[in-house]
Symmetry: C2
Subunit: 651 residues, 2 copies
Amino acid sequence: MGEMPEVIFQPEGKHRRVTHGTTVLEAAKLMGVDLTSICGGQSSCGKCKIIVETRRDNLTSYTEAERRLLSENELKKGYRLACNAKIIDSIVITIPSESQRGHQRLQVEGIETPVKLNALVKKVTLTLPKPSLEDQTADVERLQKTLEKQYGLYDIQIGYDLLRKLPQTLRESEWKITVSIWNNQKIIDFETGAMADDNYGFAVDIGTTKIAGYLIDLNKGTLISKGALMNPQVPFGEDILSRISYAMEGDESLRELQEIVVKGVNQILTEVCNQTAISHNHVYETTIVGNTAMHHLFMGISPKFVGLSPYTPVIQKSINIKASKLGLKMNPRGNVHVLPVVAGFVGADCVAAILATEIYKSSDICFLIDIGTNTEIVIGSKDGLVATSCASGPAFEGAHIKYGMRAQTGSIEKIWINPNTLEPKCLTIDDDKPRGICGSAIVDVLAEMLKTGLMDTAGKILTDTNCHRIREGPDNLEYVLVWKEEAATEDDIVIVQSDIREIQKAKAAIYTGASILMKKLDITVDDINKAFIAGAFGTYIDPANAKIIGMFPDIPIDKIVQVGNAAGTGARMALLSKDARNTAGKIQKKIQYVELANDPKFHREYLKALYFPHLDLDCFPRTIKLLRKTLFHVAPNHQTVLKGINKMKLS
Amino acid sequence: MGEMPEVIFQPEGKHRRVTHGTTVLEAAKLMGVDLTSICGGQSSCGKCKIIVETRRDNLTSYTEAERRLLSENELKKGYRLACNAKIIDSIVITIPSESQRGHQRLQVEGIETPVKLNALVKKVTLTLPKPSLEDQTADVERLQKTLEKQYGLYDIQIGYDLLRKLPQTLRESEWKITVSIWNNQKIIDFETGAMADDNYGFAVDIGTTKIAGYLIDLNKGTLISKGALMNPQVPFGEDILSRISYAMEGDESLRELQEIVVKGVNQILTEVCNQTAISHNHVYETTIVGNTAMHHLFMGISPKFVGLSPYTPVIQKSINIKASKLGLKMNPRGNVHVLPVVAGFVGADCVAAILATEIYKSSDICFLIDIGTNTEIVIGSKDGLVATSCASGPAFEGAHIKYGMRAQTGSIEKIWINPNTLEPKCLTIDDDKPRGICGSAIVDVLAEMLKTGLMDTAGKILTDTNCHRIREGPDNLEYVLVWKEEAATEDDIVIVQSDIREIQKAKAAIYTGASILMKKLDITVDDINKAFIAGAFGTYIDPANAKIIGMFPDIPIDKIVQVGNAAGTGARMALLSKDARNTAGKIQKKIQYVELANDPKFHREYLKALYFPHLDLDCFPRTIKLLRKTLFHVAPNHQTVLKGINKMKLS
């Protein structure tokens, strides 16, 4: 008998091996996945719709009920009914929003960094003198002369495509038109009458997991509306490397990934435009940020060599692309400005976060971290910036954690453990019945287990605590967070030893990156004057707990600021200000990228960082005070291991 | 009974009314049109193929023989067999080159004006350093740095489309590539290996009747090959105004005219590339000249408002368009540079001719005339240029002349009349049996008839000469040039009174334009120091005869230069030199356009110019010496008419 098939549910990201022949609905229930089912599996309500994008043959074939209850179009798109489709082999299943009860928490808020309004798109209304036998000036030159006279705008160009529409429009509008000009350089559109007020832009942050979009009034600089969406590429690979691998399968795969992400961006844009009754044609510019792989995929540029050593991007500096070339549903002649990237794994989102946090002009040394599947770390000041990226993996987004899931209705987002009773208290999103654990709570539970002595600094669950929630589970030792009676799952929700190992690897990678950057700058944690934690995950974690598990350096709490989606803020700044774009370009050039793969110290530092908070306790002077009890278990041992590691030869 | 259907044969341009039910082959034979027929109309050889583009229903429907002898593809394209198809109603018939015995003379030669080689496309071969963990510079920046280091080329941009091909090409070529750079600004292509020698450009002159193309080595500045073609738009209208009318029928018609002219340009380009085994992809730039309507139609810009008062073009200055946007079969990312136009009827061909003749920098006053369906006239010097355009009509190209035809095998191109015997001597192209008269011979015959007293200065054929070749024909008086026994036609080839009327109108329009420009500059013919006659027709006419009939001012013969396709020369200069393009822009701005439609003197001057050479004989002091004999017939009368016209009120 082969391995049991693994099923992955998107967008939650939950996954588990299930018995061959399990229905999708049964699997979802078993795992506590949010999937509507009114009739309870009687093949009558047709509500438990799911989508299978690839490997459709890994489910049993369509039933009579499915053919009856699903539309022609749905069948074509790979819709199934979860109660009818049985799992034959490993498969990724997407639960469309209409089949979800709860909703996903997609972080879009970010700090507000003031920026002087200087948008690149300007709209002006003109009245042209009519041609006559005494003035036979051509239409284009007539328009240009009027722009000079009425607005002092010289040598404004007009593209070939637009040129062809000009004669008719000028005459239909009786020579009164509104012209949209990009960067004081070229006309990107014109329309009849006085329309200068309708001037909008769109700022987009494309994350590996999530896309956030912001609709902005380019005349006033105000935020009109915002929206977010799971990155629809997720079913093609959860993390950056699997996304890159998929793209490398061929031009068709690359095109598929580009099309689907553009479709996602268009979906958000359509939503925000519809909400505000703004025409797509009045959206003249879009700014895009994202990590280097997302940046490449959005443009349909192969990220192959980003994924292979020496990890070179195809282009670093910013690019302007005509909207129609990318298929964005904005004004087709509008501009898409893609911000610059630093390296294969330090992208435009990082540049945008630096722009938003303004660490590039700080006199003091600042620390910036954006924690995700890939974690970017930047340290520096106006005198210079160093940056690196570490493959922290998707553990903090719930992947590879037995009950891990994304931040969504019913996920536990906060955990405390009573040091006396060793009983946990869990807070869920939307106060719903617990269905799993999201990233912020995973950090909490480890910090709490460490503080309460349920786990040692090496990450081992301890059995000498008389805690009835610690038990030998099917996999290994586990700590029960929620009994099944109180949960939306069919089993107890637990943290298992292997979950702790996953987090150890992830946090060690992050800390090692930070530590190597500090060594590069020859500074200690005490030299850091301000720390910014960015990103969705960073918004919800408890920084004190993150430090307890040693995720990042032991910076005093009062110096830590959680800045939310700083990348999105940077994208908005670049949309509103030409100066901000220039600054982004300068930031890109200013940053010194440090390649960890290249650093001989990496492995040694990584081994030390696997401990909670660290093998070398001197690195965490503030944090160890909180851990007196646990330290007794391991402190003597620490010294021996530390010596051993320090003696390791650098290869 | 309605009017008899009129049939027009292209490319010769011959036309006549024929009896309803005449076969196309019979009509062709009757008119002496060059159409192959081996079996003589037995429906067996399948060689008398003709093409009908529009109004296919004006021929009888397909016969069994046609379905058998024509291919599927030919049937689809509107091919017919001339011996089978009968004429029901008026129709334009094109004889494809494979069905012609002779060939058309398409003027492509022009003066050679030296120009300093400074082409916009440069090709350089680069060897890039390979990326490593120590040097993770992105592909684009790596390429840019190499361009800086190896060639001192800074800030060279690369477009989005090309960007996507870069990573693969760099690695496949093992980091040695050849880059094609346009205008020191942007990369338009790259290829593996050392390919810098293959750098070509294409210069094109799009005439109303004919397209000429020149393939040029952009590294050496040499002409590689040249070719020409009838403008395939001819069946949609012989002159500019009918072409504009067709385009105004709707977007579809406009697109049709654009596509067909682009196809024509592509046909020449393919021919010259095939002759020289040069790849289309190595043709990086094309320069285009043409009159304003051709200029607009080539770009798919509606010429509607060029055709309607006040005759404004859509754009005057030069434009650069990506080749792929126009569908040109050159490097798709190459540039198409369209030269500037001056006014609705003074186009880029005129600007190019000024560039080629260098009258814009002459210290002396120059005269430039390009005679065609539309005749452009420019007068001036480095101190200023005035230009105008007159609708001279297609008479000089053989249209509206009973036996008129284009310069082609068998057309009479030169005529002398013996002043004693009054017998003509005719010279035909390729020494073939005469089939008709082309433009240069039409000028000759009128000048000779005037000199020999066969016609008076008012253009009336005189009957008091005892010349047996002068007779009353079916239409009016006529002069027999070739007896049918010596001709390839079934009738005598004659010049009829109405032919003379056509030429009178055409030449009067031209002279009036010149005369108004001279008045504008306040100069007389004696102030003109040099005259350039440009264009295909201008190459073959006898300037002395042209002056005798008063086509243009009475400039001494030794000051007249025939410059051939000067517009083509200008296009070649613009292809080879950035400075020439700048000069073209300056020329466009420098020219003062004079609108004849706007000039109150026009009608009065025109009436006077209808005479041969002119009603006011004082304008032609040199020419009248040649016309003593004829002048006796009319000179006294002249004075009376002249007084009457001069007294006419200016409206």
